[in-house]
Symmetry: C2
Subunit: 430 residues, 2 copies
């Protein structure tokens, strides 16, 4: 057996400790699959004294993660610090400049600076692997970039944030409002004290930007992603969705359209019978559609120390075996310059739920707005009657352009009889 | 861009024509992802005159597929002839001996002769790729062998034969008996005129033997696979399964047990809520459980020209990029000699359905047999009453060893009041 692959790990949070535990627990099996042992030789973290449940004796310790890049006893740098700026970015860039392959779980860094980092990696001829950056233990990046590489991908979509999926699942199963479900997720450690990164869709947008770049072989373009989170999803809309045969999921969707690629993250109504509708709790799922392969669905654990470690070490085994792939699947010069399609041009069906005063003429006013904008209705649902009081009214449209729908929303919200901001949820025929 | 990768295709049936169509339709995209063009330069098939819907002009034509191995203008041989013996085997061995990488969709060849072929490939240092051999367009081999490579796999299971899944789905949805559903599958081209290879579980066994070798890093061992097909599944059992909250699927299951690896293909009752229970029609699914990644589920099209071509060309792209992996994930010397566990030692719950004469004492006789063999019952279901006539009785056991269950079956079948051969279906807690 050849010399071990010497690995430095920067960041010893739960994922970093998981990587160390995995490399120790499955060392023999990993050596067989990698063709050589994989050994951690150096680490960097903030607090040297903290007990992480894995022994660190014998490893070189660095206060400054960037110093790992210069250690001549390190073959590969694993970056698990996180964040699109600061030490994570500095370390990744320093390692690539030093000619050391990098494995990272950092979706923010790749979504924000991925284009420049991919160019740096290519210019130095150094591999950069990031299976752990999207969908945790699901090998979504390998499947898109290698397994489906022969396909012209038409769509890639997924449940990419376990926190949001847990909250939406809890709201549906226990008929809770968003704030209650969020508080429970926080108690269980599924949501951060400041949850905005997850619940506002930012994390899912980072992952979608990466998936879209891989699926369509184009430079990562986070700015083009339309992002809405789940704060405004109500228990009422989840119950009404159920009545209509849908489930509400926060999806990231990248799609090849006439004129370019659309990328968006927002709550969606998906048919209750679709495979992705049943992916509940903290699980993630990725759906990809290619012109030859048809539709592939993958599901699994999207986060957590052990699934994420599985992805990080798979990348290390690829590196040990010499299996290299350009960051976005093709060299930077061969990427496709297909433009982004703005959200205003999205076409699809919409669910619109209003609270209106139950009095004659209200429905006529509302449907008049839709008629004026040439928006046609598939169905309308009015629950119960309570003359003079507030009742919910649901309108489901046929395919409509987003720009028209936004205008309709503005006009309808301005009607006297409409009592609060209407809820708008896009219907996705997955 | 570098010189094209010159490919020879042996076998121009639907899959071979699909590979040619894919390489033509997506040539630019494939060249970008492969880092160089992939060009077919030679082909071999029986009937030169047949119209296959793809142009063959300019390609060298060989009557004898084995001659492709000797063509100096061929870098890679794609074997799509099929069958474990004859020209397919001769071509694969000749190509490897000539130092030419091989891509094959041939599960029978790998299941029967995979150990020797892997040794030949390794001894010559030549890659052998076979993504298309299992689960069609689902990149199950890449996921198991590379994506989950860091995991100690506990179980891999799947719906591996689309013909059987189509028949079982039709039986359930349209309340048909097996023979009717088979005839419909034959009319639609989902089953062969001689369907035994599919419906007797042989094809699924080939695929399971390959998956087990990959999952557990051990030499392929087809002889160890316990195989039962779906001929004896009845509409009555499908309806009773539904009542009990199960679906009947033909599964291939490989599992790490105390003392070794069990591999089996047989009809299973799976909980109706399990992801795999909803994979219907010609779709395939693969479930893998690893110690770090947890459970990963993949589904997609398991057969057909286009999904299979997607897998074949993914292998070609891997070869063009220089991404190589040993056949079973580790070199032959590093494979795990974990023994096989025989079916008699399987432990699980069983569904047993009898047709009995409805008269006093029958149930006491049946349950007496189970008591004598220390088999404990979870539930019993007797439908309707018809004194003196035949009625179905369903018994569901707690975990029981296969050997005891077989003995019980023999004794129960010998009881006077038991009218036909009892139906036995294993319950699988997926």
């Amino acid at each position: 057996m050849t010399r071990p692959l010497a690995v430095a790990v920067a960041g010893l949070g739960t994922v970093g400790a998981g990587v160390l535990a995995l490399l120790r627990d499955n060392a023999a099996l990993i050596a067989a699959r990698a063709g050589r042992p994989i050994a951690v030789t150096a680490v960097s973290a903030r607090d040297r004294a903290r007990d992480r449940g894995v022994p660190l004796a014998g490893l070189r310790w660095y206060e400054d993660p960037v110093a790992l890049a210069a250690d001549p006893g390190v073959d590969v740098v694993v970056e698990l610090i996180g964040g699109s700026e600061g030490p994570a970015r500095a370390l990744v860039e320093a390692a690539l400049r030093a000619g050391k392959p990098v494995v990272t779980a950092n979706k923010a860094l790749l979504a924000v600076h991925g284009a420049a980092i991919a160019e740096l990696a290519e210019s130095r001829g150094v591999p950069l692997a990031f299976e752990a950056a999207v969908a945790g233990g699901i090998p979504a990046i390998k499947v898109l970039r290698e397994g489906l590489a022969a396909n012209r991908i038409q769509r890639v979509a997924g449940i990419l944030n376990g926190t949001c999926n847990y909250i939406l699942t809890t709201m549906r199963e226990h008929k809770r409002e968003f704030a209650e479900a969020l508080a429970e997720a926080q108690r269980l450690g599924y949501a951060e004290a400041d949850p905005s990164f997850d619940i506002d869709g930012v994390d899912a947008a980072h992952k979608l930007a990466i998936l879209a770049a891989l699926a369509f072989g184009r430079p990562v373009d986070l700015a083009a992603v339309h992002v809405e989170g789940i704060r405004e999803v109500s228990a009422l809309d989840i119950a009404l969705a159920e009545e209509l045969g849908y489930r509400i999921k926060l999806l990231g969707i990248a799609k090849r359209e006439e004129g370019g690629i659309s990328t968006r993250v927002h709550p969606c109504m998906v048919p209750a019978g679709a495979p992705i509708a049943r992916v509940d709790g903290v699980f993630n799922a990725v759906v990809a559609e290619g012109d030859f392969v048809g539709r592939i669905v993958m599901e699994g654990r999207g986060a957590g120390a052990r699934p994420t470690a599985s992805a990080v070490v798979a990348d290390l085994i690829d590196l040990a075996r010499g299996r290299h792939t350009p960051v976005w699947g093709a060299s930077n010069g061969a990427l496709d310059p297909t433009p982004a399609v703005p959200m205003e041009r999205h076409v699809g069906a919409y669910y619109l739920r209003l609270m209106v005063v139950d009095r004659p003429g209200v429905i006529a006013d509302v449907t008049g707005v839709l008629r004026d904008l040439r928006i046609s209705l598939e169905s309308m649902l009015q629950r119960g009657r309570a003359p003079g009081e507030a009742v919910p009214v649901v309108l489901v449209t046929h395919d409509t352009e987003e720009a028209a729908m936004r205008e309709a929303l503005t006009r309808i919200a301005a009607l006297d009889a409409v009592l609060e901001r209407p809820a708008l949820i896009r219907i996705e025929p997955l």
